[in-house]
Amino acid sequence: MQMTRRMALGGLAASTLIAAPAVRAQAPVELTFNYPVAVGGPITKVIDGYCADFEKENPGIKIKPVYTGSYQDSITKALTAAKGGDAPDVAVLLSTDMFTLIDEGVVVSWDELPGVDKAWTDSFYPGFMENSRTGGKTWGIPFQRSTIVMYYNKDAFKAAGLDPETPPKNWAQQIEYAQKLTVRQGDNVTQWGIQIPSSGFPYWLFQALTTQADVRLMNAEGNRTFYDDPKVAEALNYWRDLVTKYKVHPPGIVEWGTTPRDFFEKKVAMMWTTTGNLTNVRANAKFPFGVAMLPAGKKPGSPTGGGNLYVFKAASATKREAAVKFAKFLTAPERAAQWGIDTGYVAVSPAAWETKKMKDYVAGFPPAAVARDQLPSAVAELSTHENQRVTQALNNALQAVLTGQKETQPALAAAQAEAERILRSYR
């Protein structure tokens, strides 16, 4: 009995060994596709659906989606895998990871790939391409991109005697509105006027303020930052004053993750967060809400954010060809439109906004177009060589100032010195 079982097992093993080369010869190209979301949940279903549809259209190609958690986890996994010789073929990673991926030498530029022409790479909003190109090469294809917008509670506006259809247009108005919207009971505040999250990645939200103060945080080569520019200090002082001078913004570090909840619970009347939250807010806000472009300082502005498609160097020639097909499939106007509708991300090309599907959606739900309308004033998200380290220096400075531990000027000067030390070797 034992013998026969062993023999049967052996035979089985041998047969797969013998059959393997034949199977491999006929096997379709299999692309590993890392996608930054936790396993389960509605988004994975959408992505699974895209992969299945693509395989139907392209019988020779199989897509193996791998769900890799948060953006932070995803870049860690992708780089660790690449260093271990097991890189994914295609991955969605933060657009700001571009320099890191180039420096580690693990990605190829899209221009070198078969089937890529300039007409396609130019078909996306230029605002999104700022974080996708450097040194004249295109390294990322925009897929799930966002900007920061302001969500406001229309009921709270009415209660404060403000017109719910006219959100604040500029910095002064923003303070004035926030003052009217802050509700106090004795020493306690029951409703804050405005909330700008500052946990995790405060630099991103801060960059909206600096853009509005008409200053850039870094150069296009990603090897120089301008943290100590007086206008940057002006932007930070504005944020701090919301807390300390006008007392219309909750003190300390405001959690990114619980900010939408604070909004739903009516603890705050106006919040700044990503357009990627639009679907979430629409589903969970139990009151009429508005979406507005961020108020202008010297000028309007917001950084872009979100993820790009990257192709890894380790992918073979056939896989690279398949990767291009897949990227074109994912960013085709119809699909980009549907993706934007499903998630709240900004559809990445003007053509997507011209589709009937999108036009109908915007007609029925005008807030969906706010992020697009804000794009002309949008700038590239802070991204440099050794990105995480350089942005962390700024994060630390911001948090130190917002928690009242340091003064604006010395904090920003220290952050700039740290960034200089790191970036010097990249010039």
């Binding site: 959690e255 995480q388 400075a397 928690t403």
Partner: protein, 302 residues
């Protein structure tokens, strides 16, 4: 076994040795592959620069350590970690002992109480962190509601202020650990022969005196075991910090291990991360050795 080897002569002894090695092999291979080799490799790598793209690693001696000595964040995380360990270790041990004494007594609903104290241990740390994130939410979180009810305090941003963030992280760790240590104390308490307590009672010793002179000394070995574990956890239990604050605000809650993660897997400066790991290893080795030497001598084993 030994006698059999003696009779069998040198061949028998060899066979016994072989058997011993074979028995040790599975555990040893795992230990060497996943503990000793990585530890040695880490020390080795800490003397090289970080390889980047086309630039391979090269020997730089102690430069990584010099960089650390100049790094204010390194000293800050070291200080934070010291406070964190000093706060969590005695408190979680003390609470564990109190809880164990409490549920070891004759009280109603003993089983339910023991269960309740043990629950935090069963929960994964990531789930715990997300739970506490909402406990600590300013204004409508559980903690703020309680402080308002009890003391009439206003909203406090527990994990978003420099002053309270580290304390808030320590609370979570103590809450998580105390129940686990309680189980050990409970087992040790039940192993103490009742005769000893009876004898103390006959002698007319007070309850406190009995506890101090009878119970506590007999719990010595358990306390040593728990103390070693608590100290190691004081450096190791950081999952909740990664979830709740990422070490912020402005590194107020950054500990050695979270800093190692940041340097290694966010900044990709693997060489510097190796040097940091060596520092952590050294600290842990020294602490464990000190505990065994100092406390071990005074611990009463039966």
């Amino acid at each position: 076994m030994a006698r059999a080897a003696g009779i069998g002569g040198s061949f028998g002894r060899e066979r016994t040795t072989l058997h011993a090695w074979l028995m040790l092999a599975p555990a040893m291979i795992l230990l060497v592959a996943f503990t000793h080799y990585p530890a040695l490799a880490t020390i080795w790598h800490s003397f090289f620069s970080t390889p980047k793209g086309a630039r391979p690693a090269r020997f730089i001696g102690a430069e990584n350590y010099a960089v650390l000595a100049d790094d204010p964040v390194f000293w800050l995380v070291l200080k934070n970690n010291l406070i964190y360990a000093l706060g969590t270790v005695p408190l979680s041990i003390g609470i564990a002992l109190a809880m164990a004494l409490w549920v070891n007594g004759r009280i109603r609903g003993k089983a339910a109480m023991r269960m309740a104290y043990f629950v935090p241990t069963v929960l994964p740390m990531i789930a715990v962190a997300n739970l506490w994130l909402f406990f600590y939410t300013p204004d409508y979180g559980l903690i703020d509601r309680m402080t308002r009810l009890l003391f009439g305090w206003g909203p406090t941003n527990w994990i978003g202020s420099q002053e309270t963030a580290l304390g808030a992280m320590m609370m979570v760790a103590i809450w998580k650990e105390a129940g686990f240590f309680m189980i050990f104390y409970l087992a040790a308490l039940q192993a103490i022969p009742p005769v000893l307590h009876e004898a103390a009672a006959v002698e007319g010793a007070s309850r406190f005196y009995t506890f101090r002179r009878v119970t506590l000394p007999l719990l010595g070995p358990t306390t040593l075991f728990i103390a070693v574990n608590a100290v190691i956890n004081g450096f190791r239990l950081v999952d909740h910090i990664i979830v709740m604050t990422h070490g912020g605000p402005d590194n107020a809650t950054a500990l050695l291990l979270t800093y190692i993660y940041d340097v290694g897997f966010r900044y990709w400066d693997t060489a510097l991360a190796s040097a940091l790991t060596v520092v952590l290893l050294l600290i842990l080795c020294l602490l464990a050795a000190a505990q065994f030497l100092l406390m071990g001598r005074r611990t009463h084993y039966r």
